[in-house]
């Protein structure tokens, strides 16, 4: 049986890791390679690296980082931040990324997703969508939450799935960094309107939130503040979820 996943999200800015609230007020959360090694020691299910200074893509910071991280981490690595061409995707995958995360570029360029999915396999393509709730409707935002997009959320999900997306990373801007729980309504909406796995992100503050997310249908729960600001780590999170009956990755062999 496929197990559920806990995915720490590592945000990068100027070569350091950061974390904010509602996409602003960022605090330093460490050195990326050091943090990757720490997550590796915890046998973390997967790691997501997002460069929120998208312009640094032009200086290859992210590519260099993935190369260094691949020497220390032996789990699936997903990378995002300003990825907008098939060349970008190729560079990331050659550097060691298993999956690429595309956000702003996908909104007006379904062909990119189609081509990338064909070339690298759909399991390598994650579409990340940032949303804010306005007048009881979920509105898609791009460019790290700065640009309001006109596209209908549910139609966008359908379009991306048809273009060949492998997974959706659904991010609540309102809940981000607030540590008060995921937007479960948003999760349910996404889950019932797509047939590919959903990774929910934004708002996890303690382990009960992770449980709520997985219980409400997420395939995987992404978190950042949870591990940066709190006496928590992925190993403890896993034990907590196991005790609640959620199937998590098992590392210890049972004598045959």
């Amino acid at each position: 049986m496929l197990k559920k996943r806990i995915i720490p999200v590592l945000l990068l800015k100027n070569g350091r890791m950061v974390k904010g609230k509602q996409f602003s007020n960022f605090r330093d959360t460490g050195d990326p390679v050091s943090q990757a090694k720490i997550y590796n020691a915890h046998n973390t299910d997967e790691l997501v690296f997002l460069d929120i200074d998208a312009t640094t893509l032009k200086t290859n910071t992210l590519v260099d980082l993935i190369k260094r991280v691949s020497k220390e981490c032996f789990m699936p690595l997903s990378v995002g931040g300003g990825i907008s061409t098939i060349e970008d995707v190729r560079n990331m995958i050659s550097a060691g990324a298993d999956k690429v995360i595309i956000n702003s570029a996908a909104i007006h360029n379904a062909k990119l997703i189609h081509d990338a999915s064909n070339s690298f396999g759909k399991q390598a393509i994650i579409i990340s969508i940032d949303l804010k709730k306005e007048n009881n409707e979920y509105v898609v935002y791009s460019h790290s939450g700065k640009k309001r997009e006109d596209i209908d959320f549910l139609e966008y999900l359908k379009m991306m799935e048809e273009a060949g997306a492998g997974e959706f990373l659904i991010n609540s801007i309102d809940n981000d960094g607030m540590m008060n729980g995921y937007d479960l309504e948003l999760l349910r909406l996404a889950e019932s309107n797509s047939s590919i796995p959903i990774i929910i992100c934004g708002g996890a503050g303690h382990f009960e939130h992770l449980y709520e997310g997985l219980n409400a249908g997420a395939h995987a729960v992404a978190c950042a503040s949870l591990f940066h600001f709190g006496d928590n780590n992925p190993t403890r999170a896993r034990s907590f979820l196991l005790n609640k009956g959620i199937p998590m990755k098992n590392l210890k062999g049972i004598i045959f």
Binding site: K3, F74, M75, D98, N250, L251, F256
Partner: protein
């Protein structure tokens, strides 16, 4: 010295990095002549069966690989590399594989999502020096749309369930094939790779 065959199919640096991390002496094989001096050989790979066999043939890797096996030296196939050990594959048409373990590579025809991606556990059917006692029920990272329909049950070491049961590790004499990615499966995966590097090829 452990050789990792580079035949243009997918990223081999993850496999190399994990061996380097473990402290096992490894090298990337770019030409067929380099295979003879090796003690262990690894065929990694991600992508199309047909393209893979074509590349192996073009780069003249097939004979040296078969000789390595004939000389009773250990061979490890990972993911696509494991599937290439088969008699035939059916991705993009029928193609002959290396024919080292009898069976065919066929697509998943199931209701669940394809490709099979994520952490799933393996169930041990018999003992083996590389696999040992430490992997029964352990989860490993899988990414594939096709699986190895093995002809002889005794060639199957572990099975995995994803709506159907399929072989996750196959083994015959000095050959071992792993469907999942040990280089992406954290500690249990690294332990397997380390055990392979220390194996003398005997069962």
């Amino acid at each position: 010295m452990i050789g990792i065959v580079d035949y243009g199919m997918g990223n081999i640096s993850s496999v190399y990095n994990s061996l380097d991390y473990l402290g096992c002496e490894a090298t990337i094989i770019n030409s067929p002549e380099e295979i003879e001096g090796l003690t262990h050989l690894i065929i990694p790979g991600v992508g199309s069966f047909r393209q893979a066999m074509q590349n192996l043939e073009d780069k003249k890797f097939i004979t040296p690989i078969l000789n390595h096996v004939k000389n009773k030296k250990p061979l490890l196939g990972i993911c696509l590399g494991m599937q290439l050990l088969a008699t035939k594959g059916y991705e993009h048409g029928e193609t002959n594989g290396l024919g080292l373990i009898e069976g065919e590579i066929i697509p998943f025809e199931i209701k669940l999502h394809v490709p099979h991606v994520g952490w799933n556990n393996i169930n041990t059917l018999k003992k083996h020096p590389v696999v040992g006692n430490n992997v029964n029920q352990v989860d490993f990272y899988f990414v594939h749309s096709y699986y190895f329909n093995v002809k002889n049950r005794e060639d199957i070491l572990t099975m995995t369930e994803y709506e159907i049961s399929f072989p996750s590790i196959v083994a015959k004499d000095n050959i071992i094939g792993i469907q999942f990615h040990p280089e992406k499966s954290q500690e249990p995966g690294l332990n397997l790779l380390e055990a392979f590097c220390e194996w003398d090829g005997k069962c």
